[in-house]
């Protein structure tokens, strides 16, 4: 890897940015040709993703057809989640439903998405499981069951995923209390404690595992939730034959804070800080998909300066996140020093972030319609100093880590998956690019004006732990290029849109006419009222594609807020990567995935 030629950077900010990605709507006709005109109901949404309602009966046929039968297929199950429709008022033209299950599919050949919805009637409805088509649906369906009580027939392990197994009720249903004060005081009598303890026991039989084989007794090793190698509260149960892993079960949910439920009772504006804590290493990068989804729903155009500021801060946080990953990954392999070097340089980023945003790790700095305030005086010198400082450091660490033979012996070929497996399991981000697919939302579906910047997308071919690492390191150098272009070409203008739904609204004219004063007062006290509709926005976040799916019922809060996180999918692949390897390899694999527990559990 060589240092990128920073002089060759030529951002052309005079060029108009791509405003919205065009999805391929021809699929609607292709589906109607195959299944008949009456099989589907179309629905429009503000994100322009073709959205079709499908009957329960033909659901699996349709899914199978779009995955394998259709030309230029939709090979990735990008997301699967449910909606409780029972209290929703604005459902114009949508088939009647108590619950909806949404399948969000992605086609790389078309560079287009497809959203299929299934209307379900009844208090605790059921529908056939699609685990047979996409294995990655397993956790999504378990989550939907856990959160809504929707049964997926034919799912091999339909049990709770995020909530404890002793939980009563399904939290994302509208009747489930959102606040602790809405339920009785918490008590833990001895019997309950015993039952809770009992529920924590791992029974291999529940997972189709055997305790003994013909030749040996297996050892079940409980890795986590408190373990130095799991980077947070993650529990992985390993079935071991000696030190070799026969199978493993990742158990998640320890970091579940109900971010989606909170989204239903926070105003559109006051939810922004919660997004910071989803991928807690990504800082303001988390704000971006959320505020863009809201802006899409409200029809707000963001000024150019705000867009470039957003890109600059996002790329700084991409580097900050990758630096944490680099240090801890090296530490997992046993190189103890780089973590100190990378954290020192991360502090330099936080110095800039502190000067610009006033916060460090979770500045919650983006706003609906722009950013919180303008850049401070002298920001460009800080940024350009950092741009000069970091690349030589990264190349220096390369000698210590990536080019070390022992390090290579531990990572090359470890935890490898093929491109087909990656797509099938919903892998995005560096993990996907490590398999050779040049897929980055910043290039494929430019948002916030990324198309006007000059940068490359690093790609590798082996899909192993080493390549996933190499991609992230190369990405940091590319982010440096983007940041430098931002700093050198920062456009003048406003840092915030003057749209009335911008939050908090601009105050300049409030004292001159009563209409603006009222709007300002309501926007600040209640928060903005976002027009009813549905909107999804996904971005290339630090760990893969992070997206927010918002449903507004015309209120000051989201009716349903769903967060599509990359780590959730990546963690689900762990057994595939770990089988047949040793305990030491599991730690190398975990390190190479670069997950954040809050990004898995939300």
């Amino acid at each position: 890897m060589s240092q990128p030629d920073l002089a060759a950077n030529s951002a052309d900010l005079t060029m108009p940015a791509v405003k919205a990605h065009k999805h391929d709507c021809a699929v609607i006709d292709e589906l109607k040709m195959r299944f008949g005109d009456t099989a589907f109901t179309e629905q429009s949404s503000s994100d322009a993703i073709p959205t079709l309602w499908v009957g329960r009966g033909i659901l699996l046929d349709v899914l199978r057809f779009v995955k394998t039968g259709i030309n230029r297929p939709y090979r990735m199950l990008y997301d699967l989640f449910a909606i409780d429709e029972r209290l929703r008022n604005h459902r114009d033209g949508q088939p009647s439903a108590d619950f909806t299950v949404v399948y969000h599919l992605l086609s790389f050949d078309r560079n287009s998405d497809l959203r299929l919805k299934v209307a379900l009637e009844g208090e605790y409805p059921s529908l056939p499981s699609c685990v047979g088509i996409w294995q990655s649906a397993s956790w999504c369906e378990r989550e939907a069951w856990d959160m809504f009580g929707i049964t997926f027939e034919g799912h091999p392990h339909l049990r709770r995923l995020l909530m404890p197994s002793t939980w009563i009720g399904h939290p994302l249903r509208k009747e489930h209390p959102a606040r602790a004060t809405e339920s009785g005081p918490f008590q833990l009598p001895d019997e309950k404690q015993d039952a809770e303890q009992e529920a924590l026991l791992f029974r291999p039989e529940d997972w189709g595992m055997k305790r003994v084989s013909e030749s040996s007794d297996f050892m079940f090793l409980n890795l986590g939730p408190q373990h130095p190698g799991t980077h947070g509260v993650l529990r992985v149960i390993l079935q071991l034959d000696g030190e070799e892993i026969v199978d493993c079960v990742p158990e998640i949910g320890f970091h579940h804070r109900g971010a989606e439920k909170m989204g239903e009772r926070q105003s559109w504006h006051s939810f922004i800080p919660y997004t910071d804590r989803i991928d807690y290493l990504g800082g303001v990068m988390n704000n971006l998909p959320y505020v863009m989804a809201v802006e899409q729903l409200a029809g707000i155009e963001v000024p150019e300066r705000a867009e470039v500021i957003r890109i600059m801060m996002c790329e700084l946080f991409r580097i900050a996140s990758h630096l944490v990953w680099y240090g801890t990954f090296a530490q997992d392999i046993g190189v103890l020093s780089p973590v100190f070097y990378t954290f020192n340089d991360r502090e330099r980023i936080f110095d800039i972030v502190r000067a610009v945003c006033g916060g460090r790790m979770h500045p919650s700095w983006f706003r609906i319609g722009g950013v919180a305030h303008d850049l401070p005086a002298g920001w460009d010198k800080m940024v350009l100093d950092f741009v000069q400082h970091l690349p030589p450091r990264i190349l220096e660490w390369d000698k210590m880590v990536m080019r070390n033979r022992l390090f290579k012996a531990r990572t090359v070929g470890v935890g490898a998956y093929t491109l087909e497996e990656a797509i099938d399991w919903g892998v995005t981000g560096p993990g996907l690019r490590a398999c050779g697919l040049d897929w980055d939302f910043r290039k494929q579906r430019p948002y916030s004006g990324y198309d006007r910047f000059d940068f490359d997308i690093p790609v590798a071919s082996n899909g192993d732990a080493y390549d996933r690492g190499a991609i992230r390191i190369a990405e940091m150098l590319q982010s440096i290029r983007i940041i430098e272009q931002c700093a050198r070409n920062m456009p003048a203008g406003s840092y915030k849109s003057d749209h009335p739904l911008t939050t908090p609204p601009l105050k300049e004219r409030t004292m001159y006419d009563i209409e603006t004063l009222i709007n300002h007062f309501l926007g600040v006290s209640w928060g903005p009222v976002i027009p009813p509709g549905e909107s999804f926005y996904g971005i290339e976040a630090t760990k893969g594609n992070n997206g927010y799916y918002l449903i507004s019922d015309g209120g000051t809060m989201a009716y349903r807020l769903h967060i599509r996180t990359p780590s959730f999918r990546h963690m689900q692949m762990l057994p595939l990567m770990a089988r047949g390897r040793t305990v030491a390899d599991v730690l190398a694999i975990l390190g190479s995935i670069d997950f954040v527990l809050a990004d898995i559990d939300r």
Binding site: P228, A330, I333, S337, F340, Y341, L406, V586
Partner: protein, 314 residues
């Protein structure tokens, strides 16, 4: 006195290692307690002594207590045959080197028994790894030493030092030295060969269940081990106490000679610490494979060539 001296050195090594690591890792390290943070280890030791001496109810109590004693006893006993300067040693054994190897073999019991007695899966894995690693690396350690023995014609450490008057053995025995040092790292299970405790994988490996001073004994035992291997390397390959005497009288000479010995030992200890600051950890099977496929043939070859040359010169 020697015992107290070695324990003090080992304890202060902890401070030295923390300061050196900090230096190499762009941070301060312990610098608050006493001048340059020198009393940090004392503070740590006091804390360790005052902690609850906890034996888990599921552990095998007798063995659990015995295990940390073994490592300290064997490591300290090994120093009995180390000559710090001409004539300055506890006992001048004819087969000093054999005694050392015997002690180091016994040291394996400590780690293995600790892993077994803790009745904890992580500790067990650590203990298993330790026994396989230490047993196999002991083989290469003793084989690589045989080159020195052949050249010096003696197993007595003082004799070996005297045999290096013309040339330090690190030159003719450079392969042997490298092999011995690698095996030494594996014996003391230090990074990069710290698989028995590999904190990222096994939490704390064989001593996961240990706390208070029983943990402290493993801790000190590790540093005594480092001092021992460094002292041995200095003795066997770097001429031990030999060095310029600056024309001093015979009464003062041993002090300078001891100084030379100490200096060489500390440089080697520094090397141990530098390795920890810079190397990744191989996987268990890679370590064992490296042992049997690279270390063993090389140490046998070294022995063969040394033997042939010694024979030819006679």
């Amino acid at each position: 006195m020697a015992l107290g001296g070695i324990l003090t050195v080992a304890a202060n090594l902890i401070w030295l290692e923390r300061r050196l690591l900090a230096l190499w890792q762009d941070r301060y390290g312990p610098n608050r307690v006493g001048p340059f943070g020198l009393f940090q280890t004392i503070a740590d030791a006091i804390k360790m002594f005052l902690k609850e001496d906890w034996i888990p109810p599921f552990a095998d109590k007798a063995v659990f207590v015995l295990a940390p004693c073994i490592i300290n006893a064997t490591a300290l006993l090994s120093f009995a045959v180390i000559p710090f300067a001409p004539g300055v040693q506890v006992m001048d054994l004819g087969a000093g080197l054999l005694f050392l190897l015997a002690m180091s073999s016994l040291g394996v019991y400590s780690v293995t028994l600790a892993g077994w007695a803790s009745n904890n899966k992580y500790a067990l894995l650590g203990g298993l790894r330790a026994s396989a690693q230490m047993l196999s690396y002991e083989v290469y350690m003793s084989l690589s030493l045989m080159g020195v023995v052949l050249m010096a014609g003696s197993l007595n450490l003082s004799e070996i030092v005297k045999a290096q008057e013309g040339m330090w053995f690190c030159i003719p025995q450079c392969v042997g030295m490298a092999l011995f040092f690698i095996a030494g790292i594996a014996e003391t299970h230090r990074l990069p060969f710290d698989l028995p405790e590999a904190e990222a994988e096994l939490v704390a490996g064989f001593h996961s269940e240990y706390s208070s001073m029983k943990f402290g004994m493993f801790f000190i035992g590790e540093y005594i081990g480092i001092t021992l291997i460094s002292a041995l390397t200095a003795l066997l390959y770097f001429g031990g106490w030999s060095g310029p005497l600056f024309g001093l009288s015979e009464n003062l000479a041993p002090f300078v000679q001891f100084g030379w010995f100490a200096l060489k030992t500390f440089i080697l200890i520094g090397f141990f610490i530098l390795l920890r600051a810079s190397m990744p950890r191989p996987r268990y099977d890679q370590l064992i494979e490296f042992g049997w496929k690279a270390m063993l043939p090389l140490s046998l070859l070294n022995l063969l060539v040394t033997g042939a040359v010694v024979l030819a010169l006679e």
